[in-house]
């Protein structure tokens, strides 16, 4: 163990223990790594591979399938503007154009100061507040250009530490309950499976 820091290592081990098969923890572990560093570094992928018993290439191959997992550095804030159908009907393309102008970068790019990465999102399931914007996967509900600009200013000044935490969708998720089902049972299931497969 060298990539995850001490606290993260504990959480990583707990995540692996939740599943009958360690590989199931692969994506949650990627979220943890992003919480630590903002993105999935090669070292992170190596350690995750070790934790779940696959090759680093398999971790990379899996991670690149998912939009939320970044195999390259991203800004401190990932700003996602939805332009799917409900938001499209309410000015999303225009808001996205404004966001590019305000941040000075095209979709997919990061501002030179490393603060913002802009993304064009698919439907974020908040279609009654169009156009929908998320920052680090928090719904910010800035539906106008003016509100968007205000948020960018506040974030640039270090605001919103409470409501828009850093990366990692599990950053405030902690498991304290269970597992109470007999660990021996899971071990037996695994053995039975190995026997049959």
């Amino acid at each position: 163990m060298s990539y995850f820091n001490a606290t993260m290592t504990g959480r990583a081990r707990q995540l692996v223990s939740l599943y009958p098969e360690p590989r199931s923890a692969l994506v949650p572990l990627c979220h943890l790594a992003q919480e630590q560093d903002g993105w999935l570094t090669p070292e992170a992928m190596e350690e995750i591979a070790e934790l779940v018993g696959v090759t680093p290439a398999e971790v990379r191959g899996t991670a690149t399938f998912y939009d939320m997992l970044h195999t390259e550095p991203v800004g401190r804030y990932v700003v996602a503007v939805c332009t799917n159908i409900a938001c499209l009907l309410d000015g999303a393309i225009e808001l996205l154009a404004h966001a590019q102008e305000r941040l000075g970068v095209p979709v997919g790019a990061t501002t030179p100061d490393g603060l913002f990465t802009l993304e064009e999102a698919e439907c974020l399931a908040d279609c009654d507040h169009p156009p929908c914007v998320q920052v680090n996967h928090r719904f910010v509900r800035t539906t106008t250009a003016a509100a968007f600009d205000r948020l960018v200013e506040e974030l640039s000044a270090g605001g919103h530490a409470e409501d828009i935490p850093a990366h990692g969708t599990l950053v405030r998720v902690r498991r304290s309950g269970g597992l109470r089902v007999d660990a021996g049972q899971i071990a037996r299931e695994r053995a039975a499976q190995e026997g049959s497969g």
Binding site: L18, Y19, P20, E21, R23, S24, A25, L26, V27, P28, C30, H31, V52, V54, G61, T62, A63, F65, Y66, D67, M68, L69, T83, N84, I85, A86, L88, L89, E122, C123, L124, A125, D126, C127, D128, P130, Q134, N136, H137, R138, F139, T169, V171, R172, V173, R174, R175, S176, G177, G178, L179, R180, V181, D182, Q185, E189, A192, Q193, S196, G197
Partner: protein
């Protein structure tokens, strides 16, 4: 309940901003249905759900009771709950996960008991950061309350639940892709047969997959009996259902209404629901059940919100999302954006879906932006025909999963309805809607 006097099964607790806490849940009768279920036999609980005629709320509308009866109980079985909600303009599970996680969990625990399953997974869309926090907290509290874990409420029944985060991929909503994802792999839909996860599912073991809203109905059904649920609605469409209304209405939002007893017109125009179209514009068209469903026009407004009724009229209720487009809407732009969505989200396993979606997107883009040619309209339909032969409804499926055949309906139905709009784009060299 707007318009009828049906009980609020999904939304009764939502008036309270703290509805997600265990304290509020217990104060409002939470986990009483679970206690009742544990005094019944698992078969009795399953029989109530079967009698309720609860159609799955995830999009396919498969009867939950029948799905449960198909589960092969050998060797180890799982229950997986689909909270990946990513179908465009669908936003009801998002609400339920954030606001009533305990009601969902109680449904999961009761279902697991009925199915005699000792482990369950709740897959929550990765972008729902707050939803994941609320669901995990609810789960922790449910463990400490004794409602999950070993020997639940001293009944002898044990169950463990894991809340699993997704990571951004629409295709993982498909149940077989969801299972792959839960196994830590790319979300590639599985090749059929076997058709049903109930035969081979998670870790190659029999698995029931149900939607979040489906689960949230279970406590009410157990508390009040399957017959009471079946008495709501009509035909096969029983109970109430969440509809996510968006687009050009005065009051977009998620609404719970009694199935069949309420029409699209009610949903869009009733004061307590959509409140009519903005600026009193005319209705141009509406999408009745998610991005995969053929569009409807004003002549369909009086159709009741029932699965078979909408199916027979040539579309589907699907994921329960209704998108309203007023007279100012450009149908080419709308069809283009929906097609772009499928292009971005195609997993790439099947050639017609992978290649066809991008080709269609590019053609629609050039029509919208002034580069369209007259032969493009036939070309669009020809490509659609290659993805789903015949381009009819319900669509033919030759691909691994239903995403491919979901691409043609918005193109074909908008073209059928608004061919003149398309032609003006081509003739004038651009979008007349500005």
């Amino acid at each position: 309940m707007p318009l009828t006097d049906a009980p609020r099964i999904m939304t009764a607790r939502l008036g309270d901003p703290d509805s997600y806490t265990i304290e509020r849940y217990l104060e409002t009768g939470g986990y009483q249905a679970l206690r009742k279920a544990l005094t019944m036999t698992p078969a009795e609980v399953a029989a109530e759900v079967d009698a309720a005629s609860l159609l799955g709320r995830g999009g396919a509308g498969f009867p939950a009771g029948r799905k449960w009866s198909m589960l092969k109980k050998d060797p180890v079985t799982s229950l997986v709950v689909n909270g990946d909600e990513s179908e465009p303009a669908t936003f009801k599970d998002h609400l339920l996960i954030e606001r009533i996680p305990h009601q969902i969990l109680e449904g999961v625990i009761i279902s697991a008991y009925a199915l005699q399953v000792t482990r369950a997974f709740v897959y929550v869309r990765g972008e729902f950061a707050l939803g994941l926090e609320r669901m995990e907290q609810a789960l922790n509290d449910a463990y400490h309350h004794g409602a999950v874990g070993a020997d639940i409420f001293s009944s002898g029944f044990s169950l463990d639940i894991v809340v699993h985060p997704g990571a951004g991929a629409y295709i993982c909503g498909d149940e077989t892709a969801l299972l792959e994802s839960l196994e830590g792999k790319r979300g590639f839909p599985r090749i059929k047969p076997p058709y049903y996860p109930a035969v081979i599912g998670l870790y190659h073991q029999p698995t029931v997959v149900n939607n979040v809203e489906t689960m949230a109905n279970i406590p009410w059904i157990v508390a009040n009996g399957g017959a009471a649920f079946a008495a709501l609605g009509a035909g096969r469409s029983c109970g109430t259902r969440m509809f996510a209304l968006s687009g050009h209405v005065n009051r977009p939002g998620p609404y719970e209404v009694e199935m069949v007893k309420v029409s699209f017109r009610d949903l869009i125009y009733a004061e307590e629901l959509g409140g009519g179209i903005r600026a009193d514009r005319e209705l141009k068209a509406f999408i009745p059940g998610g991005a995969s469903s053929p569009w409807f026009g004003p002549e369909h407004l009086d159709l009741p919100l029932g699965q078979d009724e909408v199916g027979q009229a040539g579309s589907m209720l699907g994921s329960g999302s209704v998108v309203v487009m007023d007279s100012s809407t450009c149908p080419v732009r709308a069809a283009w954006r929906i097609t772009k969505f499928f292009f971005r989200e195609s997993c790439g396993q099947c050639t017609p879906c992978r290649e066809g979606s991008g080709w269609l997107e590019r053609i629609l883009y050039r029509i919208e932006n002034g580069g369209g040619r007259e032969q493009d309209l036939d070309l669009l339909l020809d490509i659609c025909d290659n993805i789903s032969p015949g381009v009819h409804w319900p669509p033919e499926q030759t691909t691994i999963c239903p995403l491919g055949p979901s691409i043609p309906p918005s193109i074909a139905s908008s073209l059928l309805r608004f061919r003149d709009d398309y032609l003006v784009h081509i003739k004038d060299g651009g979008c007349p809607h500005g």
